[in-house]
């Protein structure tokens, strides 16, 4: 009888423990395997909508590239009332910044992330300006960074966007900061992508910071400049 009881209590207990233990083991082992796959996924890079000054490219303005909608308006218009004078970085939800955890960083909360991205943007602009070697770096730096941030905030990438696409837009400003012309200087090959970039610039509409610049600086840098759009933060 006691042997019987042992059989009817011990065997099921042993089998039960074996089953659960095995299952947990499998899950843990499999889970760690899956983690490796996740870790091996391509590190997401911050967006690189780099601002390039047009001074070097001025000799060959818009004739070099296929321009679907060039809109060349070289004559500065008088002051237009700005439709949406909201140039600041915090004005809209920022899809670009939130999707970019910097690689090799262990733990981020969202604000740190945003701050980091902003820093990165500024250093990027800094580097750009160093290479172009223009005059007053500080004010130009600030203006370029604001323009960049304003455009990035309003940029919605179409689903057809792929890594490796590059669209170069030619942008013309008047001294008040109004955008008077946007054209595609170099198409990415995907019209939806080009259009999304143009829409982002048009939505920005006006960059009031430009008005702070004095005339020579404006003429040299922002009368006509280029924006390069790369969807580098996309995962596919």
């Amino acid at each position: 009888m006691s042997a019987d009881r042992l059989l009817f209590a011990g065997l099921p207990a042993a089998l039960t423990l074996l089953l659960h233990g095995g299952l947990i083991l499998i899950l843990v082992v499999r889970g760690s395997g899956a983690n490796e796959v996740v870790a091996a996924a391509p590190a997401i890079q911050p967006i690189q909508a780099t601002l390039v000054q047009a001074e070097t490219l001025k000799p060959r303005p818009k004739t070099t590239a296929p321009t679907p909608k060039p809109k060349p308006k070289p004559e500065p218009k008088p002051n237009q009332p700005a439709p949406a004078p909201t140039p600041a970085i915090e004005s809209e939800p920022e899809p670009t910044e939130v999707t970019q955890p910097a690689p090799a960083a262990p733990e981020w909360d969202a604000e740190q992330l945003a701050a980091l991205t902003r820093e990165e943007l500024e250093t990027l602009v800094d580097a750009d300006i160093m290479t172009t070697g223009a005059g007053e770096p500080s004010l130009r730096d600030v203006v370029a960074a604001t323009i960049q941030a304003a455009v990035i905030n309003r940029w919605t990438r179409p689903p057809s966007a792929r890594n490796g696409m590059v669209a170069v837009l030619a942008i013309q400003l008047v001294p008040t900061g109004e955008v008077v012309g946007v054209g595609v200087l170099q198409s990415s090959g995907d019209t939806a992508f080009d259009r999304s970039a143009m829409t982002a610039v048009k939505r920005a509409g006006r960059f009031p910071e430009v008005a702070k610049l004095d005339d020579p600086a404006f003429e040299a840098n922002f009368r006509r400049f280029q924006l390069i759009f790369k969807p580098e933060d996309l995962r596919y």
Partner: protein, 236 residues
């Protein structure tokens, strides 16, 4: 994101209520599997015993001798189970009642049938014991798991409300950890429901066969009773 999201880290990092829910579900799963294995073993043994005993019973052996064989086992401390306990209860009552000369045939038959009914009830209890537990594990553990999940998701969304930057990375671990509770609930519930249905059907079949045996045996007893009483009245 190179952050490790192992199963264990998720469970350890879960909130207290979710952990309690998980603990309850693990216990439910353990005990239900224990019962499933034990019940299946018991059921199988009862089937085997029934087959063996029926073979012995219909082999033409003297019933008094069969009873005496059982006696030996009882004195060794092994209580009769299954259909043998039915037989022993009925036969014991029959022989006891037929010793008394003033009993008439119907009363003897009624007495032994009642004794067998009692034994059948006891067997029913023994076979269907713990089956309601399986049924309640099967029906409630998904809800318990769901409670844990809803709580965990509530928690992670409340955490999201404090952050200004809503990233997928801030909610995803919380939701993933919360969903573990549902998975565990389903893991506990599915085998319990399946086993409950199967075991209930099998115990029905087994009890039906016991009942059939009861009727067959009372047929034999009836024949013997009337033969006995006819002898007694002749002798008188």
């Amino acid at each position: 994101m190179t952050q490790e999201l192992g199963l264990i880290e998720l469970i350890v990092g879960a909130s207290a209520l979710v952990q309690v829910v998980m603990l309850i579900l693990v216990l439910a799963s353990l005990s239900s599997w224990f019962l499933i294995i034990q019940r299946v073993m018991l059921m199988r043994r009862a089937d085997d015993e029934l087959l063996v005993f029926e073979e012995q019973f219909w082999s033409g052996i003297d019933l008094a001798q069969l009873y005496r064989e059982g006696n030996q086992a009882v004195t060794e401390g092994q209580l009769p189970t299954g259909v043998e306990s039915l037989f022993r209860a009925g036969f014991k009552e029959f022989s006891r009642l037929s010793q008394q000369s003033d009993m008439d045939a119907d009363a003897i038959l009624e007495g032994s049938r009642r004794a067998m009914r009692v034994a059948l009830m006891r067997e029913t209890d023994r076979i269907e014991q713990h089956l309601p537990f399986l049924a309640s594990v099967g029906s409630t553990s998904p809800y318990i798991g769901l409670l844990g999940t809803v709580w965990g998701i509530m928690h992670s969304f409340r955490g999201l409300a404090n952050a200004t930057q809503a990233t997928l990375a801030t909610v995803a671990p919380g939701i993933s950890e919360a969903l573990i509770a549902t998975a565990m609930g389903l893991f506990a519930a599915i085998p319990a429901v399946l086993a409950y249905n199967r075991l209930a059907a099998r115990s029905d079949v087994l009890l039906n066969r016991y009942e059939t045996f009861l009727d067959e045996f009372s047929g034999i007893l009836q024949r013997q009773t009337y033969a006995l009483k006819a002898n007694q009245s002749q002798r008188r």
